[in-house]
Symmetry: C2
Subunit: 145 residues, 2 copies
DNA sequence: CTAATTATAGACATTAAGACTCTTTAATTA
DNA sequence: TAATTAAAGAGTCTTAATGTCTATAATTAG
């Protein structure tokens, strides 16, 4: 079980946005360079984040992205679900014997998944930024516009 | 994030093995019928479980599979890792800025993953069998050899 | 007003993984 | 010896992930 690479990009992008400048706009080109990924591909991911209202965007000269909300109100769960979707970790088709009743296996998995979600919902982008190494922070701050 | 369908088959197969008969051998054909999956495909999954010493197998007439250990010593985590592998849920390539230090994002994910693993390691096959509905149990018992 | 810049969207290509099937081989037992 | 059953390998098919390329729309600098 592994998250998509896109989820990794999304998490880093949000941390970078919060770190470089929580308020002013940051272009996708810089965000892509920081992660060695193409601008077009990262754009797709950012569009997903925008649709879930995690970032806001502005086109045009000096346009770009910024956090749509305060960094302490955006959690890992928000970001992961925006990119991965909200499908359950395991779903039984409930064919054959267990057709009429809920699958016990699935019930157990749901509990575990809920625990993980609770944990992820407790981690904010602000928290990550605060724990960043100083050298990383100062590097990112150099790229403010 | 979703487990493979094969993981679902594996979990059900282990529960069926424990339920039908913890000691005597059960052929893959029956196990496949119960889940509406082909015998050859389920065979592959069972071979993975055998390699991790979760089931033991015997070829030949009246051969088949049985649990390799007692049902209370086999956990969801054992089965899931046997099928899914043991790759981390998220790994940063640690390029660019964060090259020299561990990625904070990854560290947070590792904690969550460890929590999930602990939960999964606490759920045994025996526990599932005990919680099965009586109608399911009696249905499965009809297929003892 | 025009040109440059930037996000958005769609179509497309490539790759990898998952989910199988088919066939052969090896082991075991009736 | 023949039937049965697991193991293993090769191959197929589908789907999803990971991108690229191009065109369009919105915004702003000049």
């Amino acid at each position: 079980m592994k998250y998509a690479q896109a989820t990794n990009y999304a998490l880093h992008t949000m941390v970078y946005l919060a770190s470089i400048s929580p308020d002013s706009l940051v272009g996708v080109r810089l965000l892509a360079e920081l992660q060695s990924v193409s601008t077009t591909y990262l754009s797709k991911i950012l569009t997903k984040l925008a649709k879930e209202d995690l970032v806001s965007s502005s086109p045009g000269v000096n346009g770009g992205y910024r956090l749509a909300r305060s960094a302490d109100s955006i959690t890992f769960l928000d970001i992961i679900e925006a990119v991965e979707g909200r499908q359950a970790i395991l779903t039984c088709q409930l064919a054959g014997v267990e057709k009429e009743e809920a699958c016990v296996i699935q019930q157990k998995m749901e509990v575990g998944e809920q625990q993980l979600k609770s944990y992820l919902a407790g981690i904010t982008i602000l928290e990550i930024v605060e724990e960043l190494d100083e050298s990383v922070k100062s590097f990112l701050l150099k790229h403010q516009r």
